[in-house]
Amino acid sequence: MNAALEQLGRDVRVVRRRLAGYSAPPLIARRPSRASTSAATEPSLLRTTARELVVERVVVETPSAVTLVLRREDGAPFDFMPGQFFTVLLQHGGEVLRRNYSASNAPFERELHLTIRNKQDGKVSPLLCAMRGGERVRLLGPFGSFVAGPAASGKPRRLVLVAGGVGITPLASIARTALACEPDAEVALVYGSRSAAEIVFRAELDALAVAHPGRFTVVHVLEQASPAVPSEIGRLDGVTTLRALELCALTRHPDTRFFVCGPDGMRDEVLAALAARGVDPAAIAMERFTVGPRPQVATSSSAIAASVAPGARPIAIRVNGRVHRTTALPGATVLEAGLAAGAPMPFSCAVGGCGACKVKLIEGRVEVDEPNCLSDRERAAGYVLACVGRPCGPCTVEVPEEAGGE
């Protein structure tokens, strides 16, 4: 009866509203996504809303790397795509520091594993590595498109993963997920470390190989040989990569996709080695994790000179149909100037690594620190990153419509 009365009430309201000349709203307010990839599909929410997580425990992986095992207060599982990263926010000396770390476990678990290399000279990683169970961490995310999508037309997936050092983290997530969820997937891992003691996840990788015979192979490349670990010897470069790939039958399969993650120099050499083997560039995905504190060295000295040349730079920032006008001091980024002027600009890592602050350059010139995560297509379309982009003179930028924050 109540339901019928409520329905009648709604019907009457519709008729009255229509007679007064008003239509029903044409669009449906979208709810948080139901899709399994929801993690990748709520950009504005994830970019702007930090979540607080509890450190469940800290696992010492190697002398220089730890894994923070995090859980949510409500105990719910984490939803991300294997290969994605999170931005950790750390309050330090009056400023909020942001760093990106890839998840190293499989999604949909009740824990999130962030594996962190302790950089002795770093501002953030020593603090994170010193954390203890029960402490809390704030983070944004997940972000990133370094993800292993499904194979074409339902064929079993064949993945060759090439990792250097702590670059193993997203690849570990990809390998664990593919092996656990897809009975026909085959994965080979080429993994470069300084020494046997520096191999992150060594025991887990061995266990995976035992659990999935014939489907998972690991070829270690060690700078210092160790009797305990059979390996190719040397730095992970073009030569050792080619030797290691020879040991992986998957390399020769036409459907194989390649995922490369590691320090810049190593990555470039691996890419060159893959090209030398005739691997189609479209079959290769790579992850950059160059970002530490903001790079102080831009690609050209003239760029630096231009961006710190004296004189204020008037900037117009278009967001959500409004124009915010402000002036950037020499050397200040578009993001710094915009936020100081109260423009609701989205951002996340603030160091050129996630693309959350992407803006379109409508007018003027902006020097952007390299390397950063913009794709060639985005560059060609005129996008720049506000967080590492410094105006060289008067300019106008526009925040893409879907990205505008509140």
Binding site: A20, P25, I28, A35
Partner: protein
């Protein structure tokens, strides 16, 4: 009732917003006035009021509809329809997993000129300019994004209807082989809801309300107690038109994920329509003349509703309400090249199926002719087409 001119004269004194609402209500009245058979009126009118007047689909809360059919059990499990059994076998092997089959990692930029959702010229911007609305390049892109999102939203809502209708039909149908087949269709429809919603939610990031005309059809099907009316409505009318619409979009879009998604969906849909033709062809011959006449009229009315469903009023309300009269928008959408093409393909798929099951009789020909649907009579019906054949035909035409 009033003629068009009288209606215009009476409403011209009202403010534009009120006039637009009157136009909508008047249009609803016209649809119901077209109904000649009182039995059809009795079955469609309550749904018409719920959808066109009360806009139950747009009230912002889940909609409850009451079903009146009975579930048909057969404890002897007869092998009663070899063609349906063959279709069931085909459907089992044709299942696909949307997580694996489609590359959801594809980054979709609705504004990228290299991969447009809809082709250049889909909307006639010059015609819009003649109505006093001049859009710059960016606004044009946004309008095309809206129209594509709107279309896919209506496909999604139609698929939700199809999901529940397929479940009802599976309960109600008299053929046991048909029940087994029906179970695969329920799965198909669930998957279609999943992929269209996922595409809209994660790629286009926009979802429109259900169109009032589409709501009327779904509501009428859900409420009708007769299994063959559910079949006729869902398998022939909604699915048949969907097949045409998906085919047009498949041919026209350059966005690779959407194209691939449609390719998979089309192959399922071809089975669905085929099933409807198989079930109804013989059944229609067993009906009395009076029962058959009712179904002929009902199909005609639903075809009209389906035609009106594609007028994109929700896009109008988002963009132009208050600046452009509703009837001018109707005229624009009706004549804009892309939508014109859509109607062509949709009805060229639907009309041959209606002919095949015997629902277009000499009595109805003048009415089909009057609304411009007669020219589609010559095409192939679904029982002579399969999914691969359809895709090949579309690829050839593209």
């Amino acid at each position: 009732m009033f003629g068009d001119r009288t209606q215009k004269k009476l409403t011209s004194m009202l403010p534009l917003r009120v006039r637009n609402q009157m136009d909508g209500l008047y249009e609803a009245l016209q649809v119901l006035m077209e109904v000649r058979d009182p039995r059809v009126l009795a079955s469609l009118a309550p749904s018409g009021v719920r959808g066109l007047v009360l806009q139950r689909g747009k009230q912002g809360v889940p909609t409850q509809t009451r079903a009146h059919h009975s579930a048909h059990f057969d404890w002897s499990y007869p092998a009663d329809n070899p063609e349906m059994r063959a279709l069931y076998t085909r459907a089992k092997t044709g299942q696909w997993n949307s997580d694996v089959a489609l590359a959801w990692g594809t980054s979709v930029d609705p504004y990228d000129p290299a991969t447009p959702l809809l082709p250049d010229g889909f909307l006639d911007f010059d015609a819009l300019a003649r109505l006093g609305i001049r859009l710059d390049a960016k606004e044009r892109q946004r309008l095309v994004h809206s129209v594509a999102s709107w279309m896919l939203s209506q496909f999604l809502h139609g698929e939700q209807g199809a999901l529940f209708a397929a479940a009802q039909v599976t309960e109600a149908v008299q053929f046991f082989d048909g029940k087994l087949y029906g179970a695969t269709q329920v799965m198909d429809e669930g998957r279609h809801v999943e992929v269209f919603h996922r595409y809209l939610d994660t790629k286009l990031e926009k979802l429109y309300q259900v169109n009032d005309n589409l709501f009327v059809i779904i509501d009428a099907l859900m409420a009708d107690a007769r299994w063959d009316m559910k079949f006729l409505g869902m398998q022939i009318m909604v699915e048949g038109l969907a097949l045409g619409a998906f085919g047009t979009l498949y041919k026209q879009t350059k966005e690779p994920l959407l194209k691939n998604l449609l390719k998979y969906v089309i192959q399922d849909e071809a089975r669905h329509v085929h099933y409807g033709v198989l079930a109804l062809r013989d059944h229609m011959k067993q009906l009395t003349d009076s029962e058959k006449r009712e179904r002929e009229d009902w199909a005609f009315e639903v075809a009209l509703l389906m035609r009106n469903r594609f007028l994109a009023y929700e896009v109008y309300e988002e963009w132009f309400e208050g600046v452009l009269p509703r009837d001018k928008w109707r005229e624009f959408v009706t004549n804009t090249p892309g939508m014109h093409q859509f109607r062509q393909t949709m009805f060229s798929r639907l009309v041959p199926n209606l002919r095949e099951i015997g629902l277009i009789t000499p009595r109805l020909l003048p009415r089909y002719e009057k609304v411009g649907l007669l020219k589609y009579m010559a095409g192939l019906s679904a029982d002579r087409l399969d999914g691969d054949g359809l895709i090949a035909e579309l690829d050839h035409a593209a």
